[in-house]
């Protein structure tokens, strides 16, 4: 049986040759993402800003009566609703943000949700309320803080782990790659204005985990090759390591994409944001571990003898004196 090989044997792509242009592109993309987040902003969901999200199906109707729903909700005087198609044409989602100065009314979000669902059901008896999320200003603030905190802690914790298992340069390299992945994902959400909610925080943490998977596999190979080829110049060694792990990188990214794409197109619509974020993360994560995490090690000055077992004496000066440094 002839087996499939995605990457030919003895592939030798000079990844490091292009490292400077790639850095320029990466840094540009990171800054552009930050700029997008700062100017366009993230379309924060009710999890983070409070308010309510109501999903309605108009049973037996060809289409959701978006215009008339907007009028009915506006009459309640809470402001302008954001009404969107959601899945099938007869399904709609209604989002309302909390009015200014509502922090002191913990049950306002809930009262609003009650009145809106009642108004819709009164005007459209065929409406089936599929879901109501109502979050008060207080809870949404807490969710936002814990969301940010868990992201920051995850990035820090993982970097520290890598620092302990490898060397500090590797930890910093991994952290850089992570910042790249998280920034670009946020940038995508700012650009498309897809809703950014708790699920997306989960997705980003997953991306962090995945991107790191990749980075670690490459780092592990670098460490191994450093022990094996003690006199090889670092750029050459990095290139060799990335090439040696390339088959695995391609294969794993491909299988993950294959598992995710059906979920993206056939899965429940409420999972679309989460799946889209993870899918995007697989691309940026693969890129960042191949083109950023490894080449960065040159800049941070990893010594080729970082992983030489210390049984020949911890004294670096002595080794240099013996002509090994």
């Amino acid at each position: 049986m002839k087996l499939l090989k995605l990457v030919p044997d003895n592939t030798n792509i000079n990844f490091l040759k292009w490292r400077v242009p790639f850095y320029v592109v990466s840094i540009f993309l990171i800054i552009a993402s930050w700029g997008l987040v700062a100017t366009k902003g993230l379309n924060l969901g009710v999890d983070f800003v409070g308010g309510q999200m109501i999903r309605v199906t108009f049973v037996g109707q060809p289409e959701a009566p978006v215009a008339s729903m907007r009028d009915e909700i506006q009459e309640l005087g809470y402001g302008e609703p954001i009404i969107q198609r959601f899945g099938a044409p007869n399904e709609a989602s209604i989002r309302m943000k909390l009015p200014e100065g509502s922090e002191e009314q913990p049950d306002l979000a809930n009262t609003m949700a009650n009145r809106i669902t009642k108004a819709i059901q009164a005007a459209h008896p065929e409406a089936r309320i599929d879901g109501v999320d109502s979050v008060s200003g207080k809870v949404s603030g807490e969710l936002f803080q814990t969301g940010l905190l868990s992201l920051a802690l995850a990035m820090l914790g993982i970097s520290i782990y890598i620092w302990v298992r490898f060397e500090w340069q590797f930890g910093v390299g991994a952290l850089f790659a992570l910042i790249h992945d998280v920034s670009l994902t946020m940038g995508l959400f700012a650009l498309t204005q897809m809703e950014f909610d708790l699920n997306i925080v989960a997705a980003i943490l997953t991306i962090i985990g995945y991107s790191l998977n990749d980075t670690i596999v490459i780092y592990d190979r670098i460490r191994e090759n450093m022990k094996k080829y003690r006199r090889m110049p670092l750029p050459e060694l990095l290139n060799l390591s990335v090439n040696e792990t390339l088959a695995r990188t391609v294969m794993t990214s491909l299988t993950l994409l294959i598992a995710l794409i059906p979920l993206l197109f056939l899965g429940p619509s409420s999972l679309f944001g989460l799946t889209a974020a993870i899918t995007m993360g697989i691309f940026v994560g693969t890129y960042s571990s191949t083109y950023m995490a490894a080449p960065l090690l040159i800049w941070f000055g990893v010594k080729s003898d970082s992983f030489v077992p210390s049984d020949e004496g911890p004294n670096q000066a002595e080794r240099i004196a013996r002509g090994e440094g």
Binding site: P106, A113, V132, K138, I208, G209, R248, T252, G267, P268
Partner: protein
């Protein structure tokens, strides 16, 4: 490396069998079939987003508990002073600024008053709940300690949880989860609940019932303006009552609270054909109620529920049987709800809904179906690509992957964890990541073969060298998932649980189990070349 003693094989197969068996009921029910009722059913719990239902987060206002404690203390102090022999006259009582202060009329009574106050102040004796001091010779000041307030709040939340429990159980066939969260919050999760509004109405009702005498001396214009005469307080009529939009002044003290009820039933008054709630006091409450009505015949008393007046009927005759009717423009449904709320006791503190997530049962079912179809297709494609890429080794990885899915389901069922919608995404991701371990191993075996190593040596090296990277990569995933679990909320937690279980089982199946099979094959077939 490739040595597998018999005991180890037995142990591994036993583990596979056990978890797969545990997964069976979940697989059957997720596929849409019914698991026979006669068999034990350790099937996986479906989260509210999949099964449909309501998640409600309630919060109490801690300040309210503190205020109530002051009021209760004021009543106790007044009673104690009145019942002293001879009675101690007090004045200038104030509960301003979170402290209770009053003056004793005569300085000679200070020592006696202090004696009477000490047992009230020390509570149950384990901790100081109040500090007592005397200033300006005759003024007593009682300040609640922080421990006292905290203990009261804690107690209030505990009993609020019990009350909610009783109320939800009274409406029937739910299996609700009611948990306290933090100092002032309670989470209610009711799977399959069709009408979240009714549930919230029932839970949210404080059901603090009071009977207070109407202050007939109050000036009507003052009352409407919300100005209470000394010793009285103002309450509005409840919406829909005959006096809607108006206020009423009632005597602050000397009323009866509804906490001495033994029963409450929704009934219909045969004379007026009105929906009413009939309540039954316990012995002590009945005696108090009889005394109140005897002393105040022909005067109106207000029936107050949650600080709103339901009605203010005249007392036509003393009510001695301990039974009373509450009228107040009820529908059959609202009368029944009030009866349930009263029977299960008043909430010791007001609870407000600060977060609600409801998913209709139809949407939940649709989500499961869509999620399962997508998962099935994704898994099928992954299995295929592994097979065409790695041949025999891909087949081993595929079987390990299927086992992995069964193990995750089995472990989740045994641990009684809940599968949520993001959990399904976690599942897909685990499937993708599980093959990564095998990809790493197989690529490494290919590499070692290319370098000219012998078959057995290549396989050994492949497993050995790849294991280090697999270990490091998965540890970081566990770090991310644990943080997700610790800081995540609601469905995100479900995602994290699946991820952690998935990481552990995938390493086990992808590394240990496949190695056992590969080792067995190498021993049997003694191949001279590998198709990897």
């Amino acid at each position: 490396m490739l040595d597998f003693p018999r005991w180890k094989k037995i142990w591994l197969w036993g583990l596979i069998l056990l978890t797969s068996l545990a997964a069976l009921p979940s697989v059957v029910s997720l596929a849409g079939a019914r698991w026979p009722q006669s068999l034990p059913d350790p099937s996986i719990n479906l989260g509210l987003d999949l099964a449909g239902g309501s998640h409600i987060l309630l919060e109490a206002d801690g300040r309210q508990v503190a205020t109530q404690r002051l009021e209760t203390m004021e009543e106790s102090v007044r009673t104690a002073m009145r019942q002293a022999d001879p009675a101690i006259r007090i004045g200038d009582v104030s509960t301003q600024g979170g402290r209770l202060s009053f003056m004793v009329d005569s300085a000679s009574d200070v020592d006696r008053a202090r004696e009477l106050l000490l047992p009230l102040v020390n509570g149950n004796g384990l901790r100081r709940e109040w500090t007592l001091s005397v200033v300006d010779e005759t003024r007593f000041v009682l300040v609640p300690t922080k421990e006292g307030i905290d203990a009261a709040l804690n107690q209030a939340m505990d009993s609020a949880k019990d009350v909610i429990d009783r109320r939800i159980n009274a409406i029937g066939t739910l299996e609700p989860t009611i948990i306290r969260q933090g100092d002032t919050r309670i989470v209610v999760q009711a799977p399959g609940q069709q009408d979240p509004e009714a549930l919230k109405a029932l839970i949210g009702q404080t059901a603090k019932l009071e009977f207070k005498l109407v202050d007939q001396n109050a000036l009507p214009s003052d009352v409407q303006a919300g100005i209470a005469p000394a010793g009285s307080e103002i309450f509005p009529y409840v919406e829909g009552a005959p006096g809607t939009g108006q206020n009423i002044a009632v005597r602050r003290l000397g009323g009866i609270k509804g906490d001495s009820l033994v029963n409450a039933q929704a009934t219909v008054n045969p004379e007026t054909n009105e929906n009413v709630v009939t309540i039954q006091f316990d012995q002590q409450g009945a005696a108090k109620f009889a005394r109140l009505t005897t002393e105040n015949v022909n005067r109106p008393f207000a029936i107050i529920l949650d600080n709103k007046v339901l009605s203010a009927p005249n007392i036509n005759e003393p009510i001695r049987g301990g039974t009373a009717q509450i009228s107040g423009s009820f529908t059959a449904e609202s009368a029944n709800q009030l009866a349930i709320a009263l029977r299960s006791g008043a909430l010791p503190v007001d609870l407000k809904v600060i977060e609600e997530r409801t998913v209709g049962p139809d949407l939940g079912a649709d989500s499961i179906r869509a999620g399962m179809v997508a998962m099935g297709i994704g898994t099928g494609l992954v299995l295929l690509i592994m097979l065409v890429t790695y041949g025999r080794f891909g087949f081993y990885a595929d079987v390990a992957l299927v086992l992995n899915v069964l193990m995750i389901l089995g472990i989740m069922a045994m641990m009684n964890t809940t599968l949520t919608l993001p959990g399904i995404a976690g599942f897909v991701l685990t499937i993708g990541a599980a093959v990564d371990a095998n990809v790493l191993i197989n690529e490494r075996i290919r590499e070692e073969r290319r370098r000219g190593r012998k078959v057995v040596q290549s396989v050994e090296m492949g497993y050995k060298e790849a294991s280090r990277a697999i270990f490091d990569a998965n540890i970081t995933n566990v770090i991310a998932a644990v943080l997700l679990f610790l800081f995540g909320q609601g469905p995100v937690k479900g995602f994290a649980v699946v991820l952690v279980i998935g990481v552990v089982t995938s390493v086990f199946t992808a590394v240990t189990i496949t190695r056992m099979w590969v080792a067995g094959w190498l021993r049997r077939a003694r191949p001279t070349d590998l198709h990897v």
